[in-house]
Amino acid sequence: MEKVVIAPSCERGNDLIAFLYAEIDGSEERDFKHHMQHCAACKSAFAAFKGIRESVVAWRQESLGVVLSPSVVAETGVAPTILSRFGSRKPSALAAIREFFALSPLWMKGALAFASVLFCLFAVLAVARLRETPQAPVAIAANDKVSGGQERNAINEKSARKQFKDPTATQTAKTAVVPDNPPSQNTLRRGPNGSIEFVYNPRPKTRRPLTRAEREQLAADLRLISPKDDADLDLLGDRLNRQE
């Protein structure tokens, strides 16, 4: 074991401590200062104790830096609650954000504000762009995100019913469903019982010829024939189909 060399102690240890913490009367302070000029033990101890104090204070500040020192608390009257600060191991997100902003430098606050403005701008632009795109069932079908056949049929039926109940909506939907250059072959047709059905045809690879029923329906939709003349209808395409 290494030998520890400590300067011999002086009998005025209590005065030394009082002097170290500046809790000594004026006359006693002068007296002790005079004593220290001649006492090597006190001079050495004072220097060592001062260094130890500084280290202890550094330890305290490092450990309890977030807590105001008692002198600051006494001066400001602010008394943060330890249990609330330290009682919860995980502070709330809001508290963490507040603390983050409180501790952040000015440039970081500015940068965050700028980033927030940019984010809001992009969000508004994205919403505006989404609103410009058609919201008809075609949009749903064109995206082709609905993969299940049953789900697709359910959506189709729902939209068809909606269009049937609301003529103006039907008109709008028709315009949307059968555009000049449609991305897919979705269409509406009148069923045998007079109801309108939405037919989903997900972009056929090859164009197939219309069936007789489809052509009749198309003609009826375009008001080229009246429904009562349906039986006498003789369509050129049908002949063509038969020839094929």
């Binding site: 240890g13 130890i52 305290r60 609650t81």
Partner: protein, 192 residues
């Protein structure tokens, strides 16, 4: 201390059934009790738990407080007892007791304090060595160091809190500093 009378009045209110009165005591003293517990135990989590246990014990024994001592002294005694019993429990459970570490591990100290004027800037190693040295002090010496340095109490306040003569507080602090000096120098010699 200025708040001593008020503390006793608040405790009286708490005893008469004022539900918020004890909360005021907690708010007033928790920071100091936490600092004391931290200095005694050296770990934040332990200090937090000890602080909570202190106030729980105080609340449970509120009826036993007869006003013979100051509220501050009463709370300090409870806190110190909590810290001591907590350390004992930790030792029983074979947890890494900080005072044992302080005795065994001296590798973190790089130089004797009295030979290094720019002490604080020497960084973490020195702080760690001081922490270990403080933790290795006997409880009655550690107590006054912590109350002085962590709670920033005056000698008179420490004397009142611990119910000791003023001269005893000073002599204990002086002895504590001498022992810290010896421990740190020994750490330095062993590390060299």
């Amino acid at each position: 201390m200025e708040t001593a009378t008020s503390d006793e009045q608040i405790v009286e209110r708490a005893l008469t059934g004022d539900a918020e009165a004890f909360g005021e005591i907690v708010q007033r003293w928790e920071r100091r009790i936490f600092s004391l517990a931290y200095g005694m135990l050296g770990r934040e989590e332990d200090a937090r738990d000890a602080t909570q246990e202190t106030f729980l014990a105080a609340f449970r024994n509120l009826r036993g407080f007869r006003g013979e001592a100051k509220v501050s002294s009463w709370l300090h005694r409870i806190a110190v007892n909590q810290c001591i019993s907590r350390q004992r429990r930790a030792k029983v459970r074979n947890e890494a007791a900080l005072d044992d570490e302080a005795e065994n591990d001296a590798s973190s100290f790089s130089a004797p304090l009295e030979n290094s004027p720019g002490r604080v800037t020497e960084g973490r190693e020195q702080i760690d060595a001081v922490r270990r040295a403080v933790m290795s002090l006997p409880i009655e010496l550690r107590q006054v160091v912590v109350m002085k340095e962590f709670e920033e109490l005056t000698f008179r306040e420490i004397a009142d809190a611990l119910d000791l003569p003023l001269s005893t507080v000073k002599s204990r602090l002086y002895t504590a500093f001498r022992q810290l000096q010896m421990r740190l120098q020994r750490f330095g010699n062993e590390a060299a």
